[in-house]
Symmetry: C2
Subunit: 401 residues, 2 copies
């Protein structure tokens, strides 16, 4: 019998595998120096804290049954209260009603797309931007445009402005106060919703924290209910990504609608994971953030120093104030995809920049993550990469002559 040719939805027509995720499968071998994945160093997980929190969740029949049973879609009440207080500390006057616990902050992006995007709706993003956001919104057939592109108001105005103001994935760039304010003003003029991705905010290594866009918005709008920012938060870069616990914070009216969409998406985020994450966050979020900041700061500095030492002429990068990434602009004639093949053969991996552009531009750029390697590996990997780049620039210089 032949394979049936099923009719897929129009949103499923363009489905293709993410280069990054496919790549990450290849770079698992132990000798590889991987600057590819934007993932935390598992050696920094506070395993003891998670183990104790699991024991707590099985500390008696009542709590164990709660951990193993269905729970409400909105999320575990003590965790929502913790997260409301966390948002208050960021300057956002949230209560538990403004919080929906999600299955990782990726699910928040998916639900927001589902709530707001019709086929052809415009989403404004930085270019480049987080691949997972592009994928989540593309699944609802969004059209993407850069933040600076002039936009119509009214019915065809953009529905969403997606921003990662602190140490963005993939560029490492931070939006200044004026840029945050301007993005908010422009979203207001368009009647668009701002999706603020706070995944990396806790990982600041230099300089003073800047206010969250959600905080600026709430202050100007006068209340949670009149603001237009949906703040997506994550424990994945601080405590653990493997538990898939994130949250979205915003006006209760929008949180209610997102809750209904979550109900049909996965009923609720795993009960035990919420109990455990609440315990771990309560007991050790601040200490964990302090600990990993210190390690990642050292690694960032090691990568910056190695680039300074080994980079051939024509490379450009900026020092990120936090996060996990350094973005490298290569001379215009170089192709990061081709470079990756050579780099992998020398046991160094990164992600070609084109993956982070909705239109596949950015071929002469790449993303380096410094979160996973120690300083010696970072120096060796950057040395190898820069040597490859030096040879490529040279061979080009020769062929031009």
């Amino acid at each position: 019998m032949p394979q049936p040719d099923f009719r897929l939805s129009s949103r499923a027509q363009g489905l293709k595998a993410s280069e990054i995720r496919e790549l990450l499968k290849l770079v698992g071998k132990p000798s590889m120096i991987s600057f590819a994945g934007g993932i935390p160093d598992p050696a920094l997980f506070n395993i003891g804290l998670f183990q104790r929190a699991c024991l707590h969740a099985f500390g008696g029949p009542q709590i164990a049954r709660e951990a193993l049973q269905y729970s409400t879609t909105e999320g575990y009440a003590p965790l929502r209260q913790f997260l409301a207080a966390h948002m208050q500390a960021l300057g956002v006057p949230a209560t538990a009603d403004n919080i929906l616990v999600t299955t990782g902050s990726q699910q928040a992006l998916d639900l927001i797309g589902k709530l707001l995007i019709d086929p052809g709706s415009t989403v404004l993003t930085a270019r480049p931007t987080y691949l997972g956001a592009l994928q989540a919104f593309a699944a609802y057939e969004a059209r993407f445009a850069g933040l600076d592109t002039p936009q119509p108001v009214g019915a065809d105005a953009p529905r969403l402005v997606y921003l990662t103001p602190d140490f963005a994935n993939p560029t490492g760039l931070t939006m200044g106060l004026a840029a945050r304010q301007q993005a908010l003003d422009s979203a207001r003029a368009l009647n668009a919703i701002v999706v603020e991705d706070g995944a990396y905010t806790a990982l600041r290594y230099d300089g003073a924290p800047l206010p969250a866009i959600a905080a600026l918005d709430a202050a100007a709008a006068g209340s949670m209910e009149t603001m237009r920012t949906l703040y997506c938060g994550s424990f994945s870069k601080t405590l653990s990504p493997g538990l898939r616990v994130g949250w979205v914070c915003g006006p209760a009216a929008l949180i209610c609608k997102l809750t209904l969409l979550k109900q049909s998406a996965d009923l609720h985020t795993a009960s035990i994971n919420q109990l455990v994450m609440h315990q771990v966050a309560l007991a050790g979020l601040d200490a964990q953030i302090a600990a990993i900041r210190s390690v990642y700061r050292t690694r960032r500095d090691a990568m910056l120093a190695a680039l300074q030492r080994y980079a051939p002429p024509g490379l450009h990068w900026e020092k990120p104030e936090g996060g996990m990434f350094i973005w490298l602009d290569l001379p215009a004639h170089l192709d990061a995809g081709a470079l990756l093949d050579q780099a992998i053969s020398q046991d160094v991996a990164f992600v070609p920049g084109a993956a982070f552009f909705p239109d596949g531009s950015g071929r002469n750029s790449l993303r380096l993550s410094f979160s996973l390697c120690d300083e010696a590996q970072i120096e060796l990997g950057i040395f190898k990469l820069c040597a490859l780049l030096g040879r490529q620039s040279l061979s080009r210089a020769v062929s031009v002559h």
Copy 2:
């Protein structure tokens, strides 16, 4: 500042809260005899097995880091292999490539809807059917039609046929072999995909198991790759719903596309939950199924006996061979919604039948779940409910006179 009036997607226009989920929030008080939730009795969870599996997941730094780290979208390889073997035991010749681990089987329904449904696409279902399936498909603007309604072939043919062949939620009914075969033949004629929901299959109390539709399909089609059934499986009714671990099994080509959609929906199902569920299923799935079957069989029999003893004339129900539900048809003039208000005031809860019909019909029907109450509670609750029903029938009889 006034509350902004955001433009929502067309799929979000009709969002409304599920009566069942809202109701379940009200019936938590200890004195309530709840026949409402279709949820497992938490007293039957094998807490020790989950506790040991958690300890195993923290048994050393390497496995603990795996439990807490990001993992692949497809799912934890040993769990996929376990599930492939589980499907083989059901007569479906699956390999791990035919399995996607999902965040509960609700997510499988959501991803299937995302893959296959365009606005206006027809989904065929039993009437009544599982509310969560209606919600998942409605979020992609599906149109619903009953299984017996004549359907066009070609471009306007139904995309999906959703079936729960064993002890369906909410009716408790089982499809016979001929009905399974006929549903498959009709899906083949329409080139529709069959979504087989196996949530309750393990909970059989009488009679011999019938082949899964996926097994009939694979046998007739000759291979996994030429079949048209997506089988959605769940640990929620056997081991624990709170971990949100389910799966979908089908042709690898469709599993690949569902995997891409899952990537943008939540990256992957929580790593530690997959490790733990694999351990628990390996150590105790069969014993757990045997244990809960025996308890639920007794409760089903207690509810049937109480109905037999106390039901006023004009009620209709059938004996379910398994699952968690008995469906009650009331005399045509009665409204189960109005009855519920009275019942709750007497500390008895159920779900009005209209919730399970896409068009709100079925007002004179209701769903009783026998999974959560012991036999004494069941007898008392059914007695109270039948007394209420008897008075209603009587008052109607009087008013007609």
